[in-house]
Symmetry: C2
Subunit: 348 residues, 2 copies
């Protein structure tokens, strides 16, 4: 990607405003942690790994603010909670904040400058996420047959991560290895991340992509025009149930109906062994206006009721394999996931 | 419906411009048959039964024009072909034009004024369509359990017909019989007929409706929030395969996965016994701009490839029952459909 999802400069976090893509490439300047929370809530930055990294920088900003008040730790812990609650479904957010707060507690007690430490940790997390995606891509690329026609949903690309992407990371890796695959990108209502972001990312790298509406995917499979489905994830429960963008579950059911593999690509930071199954994953419900308006224009009658869950849960039984940065994991996930996502070590 | 889908006045067909709803209620004046073709192609009038009736009026306009030229029958037959080709999938269009041309041939040979005859026949067809929908509603309403939560797709309402509607006709009839049902309307990308038209129709009659994106329907079922799916049809093949708005097939697969009934409501004019199965139904593919733009705003990158089939085919094995104006038809459709849709008689 020529254009980074986010960067840090002169004490400020700059987030690429993904609500404006592909029309405009503009950055939002976040000078305090509440700017970061606002950007996460309004989805200027989105994608489970990307909001994890953004929240880490947010914590660094919060530490700088906390240093000005009498009880900096209270202030920092409150900011950490606020950051973790910015969006409920993606677990990478809480994972990143908790990881940084643990380090801050240990090193802070040793007298280290916490704000500087947290900034350094955020930078490390960002670099690790991209590195994890590249490993994940290398593990996953062999799952794609030569010339595969891949359906993907939403955007699990460089824009959803610190770089390279998860589902799109596997696609990039396969392409780099010479696989002449092609992609069908679902537009992904309501916020059109597939149309706006996935098409844009793939076209920048000359990976052939065809845009379809979400409800065209089933007919595409029925016509024999697709070989597999490959998506990202916002949280993977200990039993292998996968929370991901609304519409993922329907794709998984349709893939099973047509005998197509259904793959999920996510770093182990997306696996939440503390959540036993999908039933315990909180599913964010967002504002009706995302559905009643498109590109600022009202398209549904005033006052209509709306149900707008941002995510759904795909049961583990429909997931052929999960591609992680520590290898490809297959059922039974209750046994295989803890092996890769258990007590964390530093990446090799 | 306070607002008719179309009406004839002073030699002109007025079509409610459905592309402007719900924001504006304006009529397009069609003074020649090519105005009608243009309105059908641009979906100012849409819905299989409604375009059948509009084409019938179009033929009346064509006959008036043909009366001015040396060889009126050649001109009229050419116009009939043009009208039939305005859109390929819905069979009601060809059915209406063929029915009127047969009558014109017989009565024209007897010296009757063909233009006046065709206008009278168009009016008859319009009245018959609404009457058929009311009968269909009465047959279908008992399929809906008390307080049913019904998923419908696209708009199979008064706006898609000469009045009352097919799928929404069943819903109206159940409501009139005191059933406190509620509806989940899929928005129906790309042209949002569910959001724009179905919600509007139902809200006008105080029928509770909740709008969802197309890809939310599967999760809605998984959560146990829906009892059945009920849709219209653009063409039903002799074996019971159903062509309907893109996305219908995915809903049928999901309904089966969740053990929910999947009902299709359509007048017998939508049954095409001359088409053996869904494989022979021509599926219209429409312009990429319908997907790359929403409400006039570009949302996908310039130059992206698009596959935009307007319809899909749901195999008969997924269809629990077909509600027609001659009764509820159940499998095996190859035997039961010819009984209701065979050689046509005048309706009772």
């Amino acid at each position: 990607m020529a254009i980074p999802t986010m960067y840090w400069e002169n004490g400020t976090l700059y987030l690429l405003d993904q609500t404006l893509l592909p029309g405009r490439s503009e950055y939002v300047a976040c000078r305090g942690y509440r700017d970061v929370i606002r950007a996460i809530r309004t989805m200027k930055v989105r994608g489970a790994p990307a909001i994890g990294v953004a929240a880490a920088y947010g914590l660094a900003l919060a530490a700088r603010e906390a240093a000005q008040v009498p009880d900096p730790w209270d202030r920092l812990r409150a900011a950490a909670e606020e950051l973790k609650n910015a969006r409920p479904t993606a677990v990478n957010l809480a994972w990143a904040v908790d990881r940084l707060m643990e380090k801050a507690a240990v090193r802070g007690a040793q007298g280290v400058d916490v704000a500087a430490l947290l900034l350094e940790e955020a930078r490390t997390l960002q670099a690790e996420d991209e590195a994890a995606n590249r490993r994940l891509g290398a593990y996953g690329r062999d799952l794609l047959p030569h010339g595969a026609r891949v359906i993907t949903h939403c955007n699990a690309g460089a824009l959803a991560t610190a770089g390279y992407g998860t589902a799109l990371g596997v696609i990039r890796a396969a392409r780099e290895a010479g696989n002449p695959l092609r992609v069908y990108a679902t537009e992904t209502r309501p916020l059109l991340q597939g149309a706006r972001l996935t098409c844009w990312e793939l076209m920048q790298e000359d990976i052939p992509v065809t845009l379809i509406t979400d409800s065209t995917a089933g007919f595409l499979m029925a016509r024999g025009m697709a070989d597999l489905v490959l998506v990202g994830a916002d949280r993977i429960a200990a039993n292998g149930d996968v929370a991901n963008k609304i519409g993922t579950y329907a794709l998984a059911v349709l893939a099973r109906e047509h005998g197509l593999p259904f793959y999920v690509a996510a770093p182990v930071s997306t696996v939440d062994l503390a959540t036993p199954s999908g039933a315990e994953i909180p599913i964010e419900e967002r504002a009706p206006e995302e559905v009643t308006h498109v590109a600022g224009t009202r398209t549904a009658p005033e006052g209509v009721g709306v149900w707008n869950p941002a995510f759904d849960v795909t049961p583990a039984r429909l997931v052929t394999a999960i591609v992680t940065d520590r290898g490809v994991v297959r059922p039974p996930y209750g046994e295989t996931l803890p092996r890769v996502a258990g007590p964390r070590e530093a990446p090799p």
